[in-house]
C-alpha cells in the first residue's frame, strides 16, 4: 500500500512537472485549510499477560482503526524560483471497537483455563502529525496552482489500549463471562515521512479552493503497561479539499 501510493504520487508529480509551458508562481506562498478523509485502516493487535490465582492468563485484543476524517492545515513559502518549504499539521481522531479473547486461570485447578471473548467499544485513536515539507510550486495555467511536497513527518499517536478485562464469574467457576474492559491511554511521537500534492483553483487574486492528496506513514511502538510494546501503524493516504489563501 505504502509503495504503490508513493509510486502514484511520483507519477502524478512527474506528469504535472513535464509541460514546458508551465509558469512559475509569482506569489510568495500560500496557506491551506482542509477537511479530508483518511482511507487507510490501521488495525492492529496486542497480547498481554496477567497474574491471577497463581497462574498467568492472557488476553488477545484485536483493534480496529478504520479510516476517518482528517483535519489538515498548512502552508508554504517559495524560497528560490519554484522551490520552497512548508509545514502542515494533520489531526485524525476516531473511536473504534476491539475484540478481546481472554484465557483466565481457574481458581481451583491448575492448567484449566476459561476462554472468554467479548467486545469493547469506543477506544480512541488520535493521530496528530506535523509534516515538514520541501515544496515545488507549479502554475500550469491561469488560476490553477499546484504544489508538490514531501519530507519528514512527526507523528504523535495516542491510543486507548485495553489494560484489563473484567470478568464475571461464579461458583463453580468453570466458565466466566466478559463484563467490561478497562483501558489505558498511551502515546508516543515518532518520525515518519510524507509526500503529497495540493491542487488549487484561484477564485480571486488571493483566495482559492483546492484539493489535497497526502500520504504519510509512521510505525510506532507504543509503550504499555508491564513493559510491553504495542506496534501500531499511523497515518496513511488521505484526500480532501478546502480553502486556499495565496500571498
Amino acid at each position: 500500500m505504502r509503495a504503490s501510493m508513493t509510486v502514484t504520487l511520483a507519477a502524478l508529480l512527474a506528469s504535472c512537472a513535464t509541460p514546458a509551458a508551465a509558469q512559475t508562481w509569482t506569489e510568495r506562498g500560500y496557506v491551506s485549510v482542509n477537511g479530508a478523509f483518511q482511507a487507510t485502516t490501521n488495525d492492529f493487535n496486542d497480547r498481554f499477560e496477567f497474574e491471577k490465582d497463581l497462574e498467568t492468563g492472557t488476553t488477545d485484543v484485536d483493534y480496529r482503526v478504520k479510516g476517518g476524517v482528517v483535519f489538515d492545515a498548512g502552508g508554504g513559502v517559495r524560497l528560490w524560483k519554484s522551490l520552497g518549504a512548508g509545514v502542515a499539521v494533520s489531526y485524525f481522531t476516531r473511536k473504534d471497537p476491539a475484540a478481546t479473547s481472554t484465557r483466565s486461570p481457574h481458581p481451583f485447578f491448575m492448567n484449566q483455563f476459561r476462554d472468554v471473548t467479548g467486545d469493547t467499544t469506543d477506544l480512541t485513536r488520535t493521530e496528530t502529525a506535523v509534516h515538514v515539507q520541501a515544496m515545488y510550486f507549479f502554475n500550469p495555467s491561469g488560476p490553477l496552482r499546484v504544489v508538490f511536497s514531501g519530507g519528514p513527518s512527526f507523528f504523535n499517536v495516542e491510543q486507548q489500549l485495553v489494560s484489563t478485562v473484567v470478568l464475571t464469574e461464579a461458583y463453580p467457576f468453570d466458565t466466566a463471562d466478559f463484563s467490561s474492559a478497562r483501558s489505558e491511554k498511551v502515546k508516543k511521537t515518532a518520525p515518519a515521512f510524507n509526500v503529497g500534492a495540493d491542487v488549487m483553483w484561484m477564485l480571486s487574486r488571493s483566495i482559492g479552493v483546492g484539493g489535497i492528496l497526502r500520504f504519510s506513514r509512521a510505525s510506532i511502538d507504543l509503550g504499555a503497561a508491564n513493559s510491553r510494546t504495542v506496534s501500531v501503524d499511523a497515518g496513511g493516504f488521505y484526500a480532501g479539499g478546502g480553502l486556499r489563501v495565496v500571498f
Partner: protein, 560 residues
C-alpha cells in the same frame, strides 16, 4: 453421631423477631407509633421479615413524620447524637448519626442517620427497636465479663467492656457486656449475658477476603487451595464455594479433639489451620481442605447436589487430631486418630495422621496422612450424603450398602478429577491406594484380592464390623465396577456388558439416584438391585444400556 458444628457470625438481628403489625400495635414510644407509616411498602415487607423497625420514608409527608419522631426520641433520650459532620461533597449539608439507648444503655445495631440543610431534614434512615423491656442493672460486672471472654478467646483484653442491649433472634432483648477480643487470627465481638455470664452471641469482625494459595499435598503434588486472607494471615476457610468449609488443625491435641466431637467445646478461629505466606506446606491440611472442595464440586457438577444435606451444610475438617511423633504414647487412640478417617456427622470429618516413618502395617504397607487420598476424603463426605438422604443403617446389608456407596462415590470422584491409571494420584478401582501403600485397602475390580466377597454367596454373615459392613461392601462395589467396565465375575463366571468407561457418568448417576432417593434406610442388596434398575430406567429408559449393565452386574454378583 450427629455433631452440628459451630456456625459463627450469624446475626441475631436478621433472624426472626416480631412482625411489623405487632410492632405497630405495641410500640412503646407514643409518637413513634404513627411513625410506622414512615415505611415504604417494600421496606415494610422487609421489616416484617426481619423484625425491626426500618425507617425509610418514601414521601415528603413521611419524611416530616419521621423527623418529628426522631426529634421526639431525641428529647426523650432514646436517641442520642453520636456524630455530626459537615458534608464534604454537598456544601451546606450536615450529617448526624444517632444511637438508640434504652434507659441509658446503648442498643446494639440500632441507629439513625439523618441529613440536614439549615436545620431541615433532607433524609433520614435507620433501624430502631421498640418495646424493649430488660433490667438495665447487670449482675455480672464488666471485669468478670472480660475474664469470661479472655478465657474463651485465649488472650488478654485491655479495653473496658460496654454494657449493651442485644436484640435477640426470638424478639427478646438481653442486657449484655460487649467485649472485643483480638487474637492472631481473628477479631471477635462477644456478647456476655450481664445477668448470667453466658456468651449469648459472638461474631467475627475481621474483614477477610478470599484468596487462592499454593499448597503441597501429601504426595508432593502442587495444587491450588481456596483460603481466606485477613490481618496479614491466611486461614483454611474456603470462601469461594457455597458452603462454609473450614479446616482445623488440632496440633495433636487429641483430648481436645474428643471433647469437640462430644460437643463439650467449640472450635474457634484460633484452631483454624493457617499459613503466613499462602504457600501451604502442611500436606495433611492442604489435601483435606482441597479434596473436600473437590468432592463438593463433584456432587455439584455431576449430580446438582449442594453439599451433604443439599443445602450447603458447613463442612468441618479436622487434621492432626493426634501427632505421628506421639504415636508410641497414644496407643489407645491409634484406631481412630491414626489409622482412620472418619465422618462424625453434621459435616465433621476427622483425618488420621497415619503411621510414623518406619512403622508399617503387618503386610509392610506404610500409612500416610488419611487426607492425602481423594477417594478417602470423598468416601467420608459421602457418608454425610447418605446421612442426609437414605440414612442407611450402619449394620448388616444396609451398612454394607452404606460403605459401598461411599466407596463408589469416592472412586467416581477420583475418575472425575484424576487421569485413569495405576499408581498414586491416578483414578482406579482401588480404595485408599494413595495413602496405604502399596495397594490400598479395598478393590472394586477384585474384592477377593483383599479378602472381601465379590459375590453374594461369599458374604460375611458374622457380627464383627457391624455385620461386615466393610467386607460385604465388596459385593456392591463389584456390581458398580462391572456395570461400567464390564467383564466376568470371578465367582459366578457370569459376564457383564458394561456401559464402558466413557459412559461411566451413566452408572454414577444411576447409583447416586438409587442410593440418595430410592433406597430405604434398611435396604438390602436385593432392594439395591431393584432401586438401581429403577434409577437406570428413570434416567435412561427401559432396556437402555445402563439398565442392561446394572441388571447384568447385580446378577453376576449373585444379587437377584
Amino acid at each position: 453421631m450427629s455433631l452440628p458444628p459451630q456456625v459463627p457470625g450469624q446475626d441475631p438481628l436478621a433472624r426472626g423477631a416480631r412482625t411489623f403489625r405487632r410492632r405497630q400495635a405495641t410500640m412503646a414510644c407514643a409518637g413513634a407509633v404513627a411513625a410506622a407509616l414512615w415505611l415504604s411498602p417494600a421496606a415494610a415487607q422487609q421489616q416484617a421479615r426481619q423484625g425491626r423497625l426500618t425507617i425509610a420514608p418514601a414521601s415528603r409527608d413521611q419524611m416530616r413524620d419521621a423527623s418529628s419522631v426522631v426529634d421526639s426520641m431525641r428529647r426523650g433520650g432514646e436517641l442520642r447524637l453520636r456524630t455530626t459532620r459537615e458534608d464534604p461533597q454537598v456544601r451546606g449539608r450536615t450529617h448526624q448519626r444517632l444511637d438508640q439507648f434504652y434507659r441509658g444503655v446503648r442498643v446494639f445495631g440500632a441507629d439513625v442517620a439523618q441529613q440536614l440543610v439549615g436545620g431541615e431534614v433532607v433524609s433520614v434512615y435507620g433501624n430502631v427497636y421498640d418495646n424493649i423491656d430488660v433490667d438495665p442493672s447487670p449482675s455480672v460486672d464488666a471485669e468478670r465479663a472480660r475474664g469470661i471472654v479472655e478465657a474463651i478467646a485465649g488472650t488478654e483484653i485491655g479495653h473496658q467492656p460496654e454494657l449493651t442491649v442485644l436484640p435477640r433472634e426470638d424478639g427478646a432483648y438481653t442486657l449484655t457486656w460487649r467485649v472485643r477480643a483480638v487474637t492472631g487470627l481473628d477479631v471477635r465481638e462477644y456478647f456476655v449475658d450481664a445477668q448470667t455470664g453466658g456468651v449469648v452471641f459472638d461474631y467475627s469482625d475481621l474483614q477477610t477476603q478470599s484468596a487462592v494459595g499454593r499448597g503441597t499435598g501429601v504426595l508432593g503434588d502442587s495444587k491450588k487451595i481456596s483460603v481466606s486472607e485477613g490481618g496479614g494471615q491466611f486461614t483454611a476457610t474456603d470462601r469461594l464455594r457455597p458452603p462454609n468449609v473450614n479446616t482445623y488443625d488440632l496440633r495433636g491435641d487429641y483430648t481436645r479433639a474428643i471433647r469437640y466431637l462430644n460437643q463439650l467445646i467449640q472450635l474457634t478461629t484460633n484452631d483454624l489451620a493457617g499459613d503466613s505466606d499462602n504457600t501451604w506446606t502442611d500436606t495433611a491440611v492442604v489435601d483435606a481442605h482441597v479434596y473436600v472442595g473437590w468432592t463438593y464440586d463433584y456432587y455439584f457438577k455431576r449430580h446438582a447436589r449442594r453439599g451433604l444435606d443439599n443445602r450447603d451444610l458447613p463442612l468441618v475438617n479436622i487434621v492432626h487430631p493426634a501427632r505421628r511423633q506421639d504415636f508410641q504414647t497414644n496407643f489407645s487412640i491409634v484406631p481412630d486418630f491414626y489409622l482412620n478417617a472418619g465422618y462424625y456427622g453434621g459435616g465433621v470429618m476427622v483425618y488420621g495422621d497415619g503411621l510414623p516413618v518406619g512403622v508399617t502395617l503387618v503386610g509392610g504397607q506404610l500409612v500416610d496422612y488419611f487426607s492425602g487420598a481423594l477417594d478417602v476424603v470423598a468416601h467420608e463426605l459421602t457418608h454425610g450424603v447418605t446421612q442426609y438422604s437414605s440414612n442407611l443403617i450402619y449394620r448388616n446389608e444396609s451398612g454394607a450398602l452404606n460403605e459401598a456407596f461411599s466407596d463408589i462415590m469416592g472412586t467416581a470422584v477420583e475418575f472425575f478429577f484424576q487421569q485413569p491409571g495405576s499408581g498414586t494420584l491416578r483414578a482406579d478401582y482401588l480404595c485408599g491406594e494413595d495413602i496405604v501403600r502399596p495397594g490400598g485397602i479395598r478393590s472394586m475390580e477384585n474384592p477377593l484380592a483383599f479378602g472381601d466377597p465379590d459375590h453374594y454367596s461369599r458374604r460375611f454373615t458374622g457380627t464383627a464390623d457391624n455385620g461386615g459392613v466393610h467386607t460385604n461392601s465388596g459385593i456392591a462395589n463389584q456390581a458398580f465396577y462391572l456395570a461400567i467396565e464390564g467383564g466376568t465375575n470371578r465367582t459366578s463366571g457370569l459376564a457383564v456388558q458394561g456401559v464402558g468407561a466413557s459412559n461411566r457418568e451413566q452408572i454414577e448417576r444411576v447409583f447416586y439416584r438409587a442410593f440418595t432417593q430410592l433406597l430405604p434406610a434398611n435396604a438390602t442388596f436385593s432392594v439395591a438391585r431393584a432401586a438401581t434398575t429403577q434409577a437406570a430406567r428413570d434416567l435412561f429408559g427401559a432396556n437402555s444400556n445402563a439398565e442392561r449393565a446394572v441388571t447384568q452386574a447385580w446378577s453376576a454378583v449373585g444379587v437377584n
